[in-house]
């Protein structure tokens, strides 16, 4: 099994799927001749040319809206939005159009569009280029949201996303593009949407995370282990739909939960994870204390100088684990 970075795994998935299915079309800003600003689409333009790999005008709403039309014509669009913050420029096309077309046509139409976009901070990107707004899309009926943490999952989930008959927002960990490496099963290897993964096994406390935060959680788990606390890390992988089964298996065992995300705390996805856990009777009655959130402060993502302090450290997660175990 080859070792790849996240961006290499994504690129591999795109090459694989474009070769397999000639309906797949890649479109976005700078995805063609330059191979994408993070090189995720590198080599595709050379292979398939502008008929299937399209450098688009600087129009996020247009890119998403046009993808809906391409899908209706029978193509399988994989649109790249250069940074997640700019999905907001096309938010109405995602929420009111793309995600609703099956529903509003009473099941007679569908738009199997995949929107790929990097999110989160940690690479000293300019203002607005590190936004993590996954919560906006989790509250968007008709849309699936996926956020892999490993190269293996990135590749396997991207293949599933592209083949899914419904629209999928595929969130890529910006700081993991080149920093997260791992073994990757190539070929016809798919990871199903909607299934979480136990990243680290443990018994005392469950830490729920996704995307780049899984590494932070794992580091905290390792530190906790040294203190004799056995932490289970759940990598959600899919934020919509949520995998309640995997959560239940872990939470009923540990009785303590910490949810980690980089996005601002208030209204973030942690809230939905908490609501989901606590409204399940079995999980609720196994809780020994409050579910804790380790999230970004309620500010926009800061510029670079403040970034190190804003990012969630394993220490912060560890403190929450300790508090949870003490409760």
């Amino acid at each position: 099994m080859p070792v790849m970075t996240i961006v290499e795994a994504i690129r591999d998935a795109l090459h694989y799927e474009m070769a397999r299915d000639d309906r797949v079309i890649v479109l976005g800003e700078d995805v063609g001749t330059s191979g994408g600003v993070f090189r995720a689409t590198d080599g595709l333009f050379e292979k398939y040319g502008r008929a299937r790999v399209v450098d688009m005008p600087l129009s996020e709403s247009g890119i998403i809206g046009v993808s809906v039309g391409l899908a209706l014509a029978g193509l399988v669009p994989v649109a790249e939005i250069q940074f997640m913050g700019f999905t907001h420029n096309g938010f109405h096309q995602i929420t009111e159009q793309l995600a609703r077309i099956r529903y509003r046509s009473w099941g007679s139409l569908s738009a199997p569009v995949t929107i790929r976009t990097p999110f989160g901070g940690g690479v000293r990107a300019p203002e607005m280029h590190s936004d993590a707004f996954e919560a906006h899309f989790v509250h968007c009926p008709g849309l699936k949201v996926v956020a892999p943490a490993t190269p293996q999952d990135a590749r396997g989930l991207l293949l599933s996303a592209i083949r899914d008959p419904d629209p999928v927002l595929f969130l890529e960990p910006l700081r993991g593009y080149r920093l997260i490496r791992g073994e990757v099963t190539t070929g016809e290897y798919l990871v199903p949407l909607g299934k979480a993964r136990v990243a680290v096994q443990g018994t005392d406390c469950t830490v729920v995370a996704w995307s780049a935060a899984v590494e932070v959680a794992a580091a905290a788990a390792a530190a906790a282990a040294e203190e004799g606390i056995s932490v289970e890390v759940i990598d959600l992988r899919s934020l919509a739909p949520l995998d309640t089964e995997t959560l239940r298996a872990s939470v009923t065992k540990t009785g303590r939960v910490v949810v980690v995300h980089e996005a601002a705390q208030t209204g973030g996805v942690a809230a939905e994870v908490i609501a989901t856990i606590q409204e399940d009777e079995e999980m609720f009655y196994s809780l020994t204390g409050p579910i804790r959130r380790v999230c970004g402060a309620d500010t926009p993502y800061p510029v670079q100088m403040l970034e190190p302090a804003y990012l969630i450290s394993p220490q912060r997660v560890l403190r929450a684990i300790r508090a949870a175990v003490r409760a």
Binding site: S59, G62, V66, L70, H92, G142
Partner: protein, 362 residues
């Protein structure tokens, strides 16, 4: 310092108002030698416009009785809707409507029963029956325009020689989506015809407050493709302009923007009270330009229009509407549970649980 030469004034691009294409004047007089449609075709078109007119009138009446939901009639704009639809080949071309184009949609194959269901607030009104080539009516202004671009482009990429016709109002041209859709269409040379029904009003907002451009057609200059301005109450002008644009698109020459200059003869929707903002004399001025009247006058001049024809058309249309309305009322209303099955191809666990809970509460 004296006024320097090379003053920028000389280099300024002055907006050119495109001429207005008219083939039939309001009195029904042909402005050209040969009509672009045979008398039979004109009668068929008039019938389509009449069907829509009577459909709208009936639905407004039903709405007033509480039997229908808020709806946006196309009264006064039927020439834009039908004249442009006539230029399409329903066996390969697509119609992408806003919400005021029941006339064109019916012409292009929307079953009349479904049109009634739509105004009854049924989700079945938004279905696209297999084999039909249209998208559902669109409530978000301009939201469908990028879809039209993508659909046209995609069909061409898939090897079809299809053309897409998208309708919208002049208000829609102020939306970012209008801009992005047309700009992208220009770049990829999508086979799409953008038809703007400039009916002067966006609800209560007049054209002058919508844009400082004197015409909508000239907005095409921004996208590098032709903009055409036609008398939108003149079926012939609309038809000819759209036919040419469709031919251009089919030949791979890219998109066209057509502005049909028309007027909304009535309310914006059944929730609107136009008397709050509409000057009466403006309405009166346009009343006489009624596109149905114009076609009748034309047919009269040609000796085709008779009392008998008039009542035959009215009769046919009435019976068609009666039958469809009866059928629509008999369609069993869908249940909320059914809607939960149509969010995704397969229900998520939570949707399934929500669906079950609905059943229990039932």
């Amino acid at each position: 310092m004296d006024d320097p030469p090379g003053s920028a004034g000389g280099a300024a691009l002055v907006a050119q108002t495109p001429p207005l294409l008219q083939v039939l004047d309001p009195e029904g007089r042909l402005q050209v030698e040969h009509p672009p449609l045979s008398d039979e075709e004109v009668v068929r078109a008039l019938r389509g416009m009449l069907l829509s007119r009577r459909f709208d009138e009936r639905c407004i009446a039903l709405q007033r009785r509480g039997l229908m939901v808020t709806l946006a009639p196309g009264i006064g704009q039927e020439a834009c809707s039908v004249g442009s639809a006539m230029a399409l080949d329903p066996a390969r071309d697509w119609f992408v409507p806003q919400y005021r184009e029941a006339a064109g949609m019916l012409w292009h194959g929307l079953p009349l029963v479904q049109a009634f269901l739509w105004h009854m607030g049924s989700p079945l009104g938004f279905m696209v029956p297999a084999g039909k080539r249209f998208l559902p009516f669109q409530a978000a202004v301009a939201g469908h325009l990028p879809h039209a671009t993508g659909l046209a482009w995609g069909l061409r990429l898939r090897g079809a020689d299809a053309v897409v016709l998208a309708h919208f109002g002049e208000g829609a041209t102020s939306q970012g989506d209008f801009h992005e859709a047309l700009n992208i269409a220009g770049v990829v040379r999508a086979p799409v015809v953008f038809f703007c029904q400039n009916n002067y009003w966006a609800i209560s907002t007049p054209l002058e407050w919508q844009t400082a451009a004197p015409t909508i057609a000239q907005k095409a200059v921004a996208y590098g493709f032709p903009g055409i301005r036609v008398d939108g109450n003149d079926l012939f002008a609309v038809y000819v302009a759209t036919r040419d644009a469709v031919a251009r698109a089919r030949a791979g020459e890219g998109p066209t923007l057509i502005e049909g200059v028309t007027y909304r003869l009535g309310i914006h929707t059944t929730a609107d009270d136009a008397s709050r903002y509409e000057p009466l004399e403006l309405r009166e001025r346009w009343q006489d330009k009624d596109p149905l009247l114009r076609l009748q006058r034309y047919l009269q001049r040609r000796g085709v229009w008779t009392e008998a024809l008039a009542s035959r058309l009215e009769d046919e249309v009435r019976r068609e509407l009666d039958a469809a309305w009866e059928e629509a009322r008999r369609v069993p209303p869908p249940r909320l549970e059914d809607s939960l099955e149509r969010v995704f191809a397969e229900m998520t666990p939570r949707l399934r649980a929500q669906r079950e809970a609905l059943g229990e509460e039932g």
